[in-house]
Amino acid sequence: MTASGIVFGEVNHTYRPMRGRPVLALDGVSLEVKEREFVALLGPSGCGKSTLLYLLGGFLPVESGSISVGGKPVVGPGPDRGIVFQNYSLFPWKTVKQNVLYGLEKQRMPKAEREKRAHELIELVHLNGFEDSFPSQLSGGMKQRVAIARTLAIEPETLLMDEPFGALDAQTRTLMHEELLAIMRRTPKTVVFVTHDVREAVYLADRVAVMTARPGRIKEIVDTRPPHGDRVNYINTPEFTAKVDYLWNLVRDEAIRAQEAHDA
């Protein structure tokens, strides 16, 4: 088992609302993520991909099956698995700098070191000059960059991302893709990235795991590494389009199935 390799072993999860019947969200999900690999979880709404991410993050208890990171089972949230949410989840009462500093304060890093590191990260995400702004004063893209900076500050080995660019407009999203890839080149990490956008998955990930409609299972895993290691130009090639088509066809059936289950 590699240092931050992730192993999902036959993970089941049942969602139990206060009122109503329990629902099986995940059914026997097994998946391996190698160290420093970028894996995308792709599937229709309600397939449980976010749930799987939250189980990995330790925010939901693993009741059936096993999840281990670096050989150790997941028992709760921790700074080894940083998370970025779709709604940015910045502390609205803290400034940009205070948000980025939060994880470092929890690590009990000495003050001078913290300040330096926070400054580095704010620069990394191109938000110089906004250190003392509040989240309410920032655009969506800027907020997401603060969220990424905050998470990267504590140098987690694994990065969990739950549809992080879903709330952004198409142009900002494209820019954020490029920024994320640049950051990953500088500080490679193990990434588990949840999305329902097929192109985004193919563009960013090394492998894409397609999930079925609820109850979620792994349908198929597709290799999406660019043939010459160059993602930026890959996006315009016919190989890219072929990959996207292939994956879309896999997802399409599940999307229809999810739609029918919803209407039923």
């Binding site: 939250y54 993050g57 330790g58 925010f59 709760g76 949230p77 921790g78 700074p79 698995r81 940083g82 998370i83 949410f85 709604n87 989840s89 502390f91 609205p92 009462w93 803290k94 939060y102 994880g103 929890k106 690590q107 509040f134 989240p135 309410s136 004063q137 969220a147 905050r150 998470t151 504590i154 987690p156």
Partner: protein, 262 residues
């Protein structure tokens, strides 16, 4: 709601009403024994302020009716409201934090909510006598529920992903409570406190009108019974002004604390 930005124009109607208050009794449009002219009220206010006896030059003020009764009212108000804020926030957040506390406390809170809290004043008098104790308890109990509810709703309304983000940054349970839930609940809590401040004034005046020998409410009824109506009006205006400025001051404090909301 739209209003003009010019302060003078905005409050001009009040100036006009003040002028009317002066003129109408003087010209006998209304009975001046029932509505003394504004100038008489102002004069009465001034003499109340300085009607104390004593040797030092400050004595007329410090021993004067307004100051002594004002201090008495302030003590009742401060401890009643202060207690309800501290206990209310603690209870409300606890109810949101711990399922057991919520299961035990929330049916009680829901049952007590529609009851007019001022009905508790006689019980408090029964238990704690005619003095400050019953008034502080009455104010405290009346203000407690709005603060509990706002703290509860505020704490429950904190986004789950905020809590998870803090945990992924390495925060433990205690840190999540103090550094995420409490600040996250602040907007609701501060709004609930504004409500509680208004209630505290009402219960303060009501309890002092009812029983006791001290306080601004007592002073109003004492002057009324004595037929000294211009002084009575003066104290009513004083109490109203205190309520008004307390609200305005608090609003200013609230806006500055929540400056991050934009």
């Amino acid at each position: 709601m739209t209003t003009t930005n010019n302060v003078f124009v905005r409050y001009l109607p009040l100036l006009l009403l003040a002028i009317l208050w002066e003129i109408a009794p003087r010209l006998h449009f209304v009975d001046p024994s029932e509505l003394p002219p504004l100038s008489a009220v102002a004069k009465a206010w001034w003499s109340l302020l300085l009607d104390g006896e004593g040797k030092t030059w400050l004595s007329p003020f410090l021993n004067g009716s307004l100051w002594t009764n004002g201090v008495s009212s302030f003590i009742n108000w401060f401890f009643g409201l202060g207690g309800s804020i501290l206990i209310g926030i603690a209870l409300g957040v606890m109810m949101a934090w711990s399922r057991t506390v919520e299961d035990v406390a929330s049916p009680l809170v829901k049952a007590l909510y529609p009851m007019p809290k001022s009905a508790l004043i006689p019980v408090m008098i029964l238990w704690l006598g005619l003095g400050a104790g019953s008034k502080i308890a009455s104010i405290g109990l009346s203000c407690l529920l709005p603060v509990i509810l706002s703290a509860y709703n505020g704490a429950r309304g904190v986004d789950q992903t905020l809590i998870w983000s803090a945990q992924a940054c390495g925060a433990n349970q205690r840190e999540v409570l103090w550094e995420v839930i409490l600040p996250g609940a602040m907007p609701d809590i501060l709004a609930g406190i504004r409500n509680a401040i208004a209630i505290s004034f009402i219960v303060l005046v009501a309890s002092e009108l009812l029983v006791g020998q001290r306080g601004l409410g007592y002073l109003i009824s004492f002057l009324g019974e004595g037929g000294v109506y211009d002084a009575m009006f003066a104290v009513v205006i004083t109490v109203s002004a205190l309520g008004f400025f307390a609200d305005r001051a608090y609003l200013y404090f609230m806006r500055r604390t929540l400056v991050w909301r934009e």
